[in-house]
Symmetry: C2
Subunit: 318 residues, 2 copies
């Protein structure tokens, strides 16, 4: 630590981290006074990977200092690089704002995932329902169901808050529920695949299953926390012969579960040979019509086959 230094934590974390963890660790050494000799603030990252309309430079930046002076110094510092800075009264307020943003997403994805499960029982097309609701021009925001949460933010960050609240004897119920529902989605997808194969007189055990897409969202090469990992693992445990293809992820090494796999080379060849093709990530590069035309059976967890799913008896959507 040098006198005059400005330290800003940007990683999402539980409320209180900046003050309770960073401040004593960084400031203790030389006896420097925070807010006078050095400055400490929290200012969350707000990047949506792959997005081009909102970047670091034009996305408003929330900044909260450990002291008023810390907030002021950090705000001046950021104002040089970022179009809109938004100071709040404390590091904790900034920490909580970021947690709210991610919790909002996690919960709303949990809601539509539960909606998908309800619609299945009701015999209603969940994708049609969501698109219809999304025509409401106010008071609604569209989220879509899927095989589970992925990436290193949305599935994990809200659990920091949930963990912190336990020390206040408070059970963060929405976070716990959304986590439970979202974490269960790979299992739900596998059970739907097994049911659909069963209807076709086939056991999942011994069936050839091709997973299309392993990244946690389309058109990126990030497999962190991807539901594809869970789906592959669960299918294997039930005795399916699993292959996967992802143009952006040539190899998966799942250390904790102890398996690895290479992306297959010839997609269409594998599509033809598979007993079930399971779309996990709706990469744009795939020719979904050709896939649906060639496959014996497709389970589509992303509604990628929408335009032609209705004419094909071999397609089942989430």
């Amino acid at each position: 630590m040098h006198p005059g230094m400005v330290v800003v934590l940007q990683s999402t974390t539980y409320p209180g981290t900046t003050r309770e963890v960073l401040l004593p660790k960084l400031g203790a050494e030389q006896g420097l006074r925070v807010g006078e000799d050095w400055f400490l603030a929290f200012s969350p990252e707000r990047v949506d990977p792959g997005r081009e309309d909102w970047t670091t430079a034009n996305t408003p930046k929330v900044i909260g200092g450990i002291t008023e002076a810390c907030g002021e110094v950090a705000t001046i510092w950021y104002a040089g690089a970022i179009k809109t800075v938004y100071p709040v009264s404390s590091a904790e307020a900034a920490e909580m704002a970021k947690l709210l943003e991610n919790t909002f997403r996690m919960i709303n994805i949990g809601l539509v995932n539960e909606l998908a499960m309800m619609c299945e029982r009701l015999g209603v097309d969940v994708w049609e329902v969501i698109d219809a609701a999304a025509t409401k021009p106010f008071g609604f925001m569209k989220f879509t169901p899927g095989p589970g949460l992925g990436g290193h933010c949305i599935p994990i960050d809200p659990l920091y808050l949930s963990w912190k609240m336990k020390s206040f004897n408070y059970n963060a119920r929405f976070i716990e529920l959304a986590s439970e529902i979202n974490t269960n989605m790979p299992r739900y997808v596998v059970s739907r695949v097994m049911e659909a194969l069963n209807e076709r007189g086939k056991a999942l055990k011994g069936s050839r299953v091709l997973i299309l897409g392993a990244a946690y969202k389309p058109d990126i090469d990030d497999v962190r926390e991807s539901p594809a990992l869970d789906v592959i693992g669960l299918l294997q445990k039930k005795g399916a012969l699993v292959e996967y293809h992802d143009p952006y992820i040539p190899h998966i090494h799942h250390e904790t579960d102890g398996w690895q796999m290479d992306s297959i080379n010839d997609v269409m060849e594998s599509v033809k040979n598979a007993d079930a093709v399971v779309i996990i990530t709706d990469h744009k590069v795939y020719d979904y019509r050709a896939i649906v035309d060639s496959a014996k059976f497709v389970f589509d967890s992303r509604n990628a086959t929408r335009p032609f799913a209705k004419d094909h008896e071999n397609v089942v959507r989430l």
Copy 2:
């Protein structure tokens, strides 16, 4: 029922109502064939009371028929009066779309209500946190906490879906949780008022409490399901001497709980005399600065006092 008649249900209801309840009831009498001799569809209302930018005429209208012909006839019929019609494949899809819209609101209000309770334990200003999160220009929608849900839609409609799902042995967990949290908010508000009075050395029992605003949202005269009713009832049960003022609601008659009350006449006189003023509805007509300046103590469940709350030790916000 006359031949050629078009019947459209617009009230929000559980999925299946149009087909399972209306169809047999209306069609059975004369043996008319639905989709040929008469037409039945569901097309939900989408009115936000008090709103002027989006009206019935310019808000897209979702329409789902009992048969394809029913949907087509109803769509043609509405297209004469409404700018955008949005046909879906069934009455059930239209029913579910409306339930999703209202469930989305109920759940997100539940989330920020829970956030308010968490922020209180963490010592963070929930309103500041929400405003900071709302500076995110994508992927976030702002909802605000409050003393509980009101009106005849948001608190009730999602429970139709929850009820229906029970017949499928499915527990609609998000709806149940949001309902539990939102329904508890009046109780939470009363406990916060009691705590704040206690800190000032006063018992709630025997204290004069003035409720400001009884309508379920600002600047309207609708008291249906308003949390003010619950807050008043709970305060009375704990022995408070409760008065209320609402410029739009001169009289409340709570039939099920067996009490009635008139709105007081002189707001500022009552504000001065009250041991606690509790803001339940943030009607625009109130002079919040004058109220805060005159009151012994204000509990603000709507952040109506924001601009001057920080300078006043006698204001506690949700």
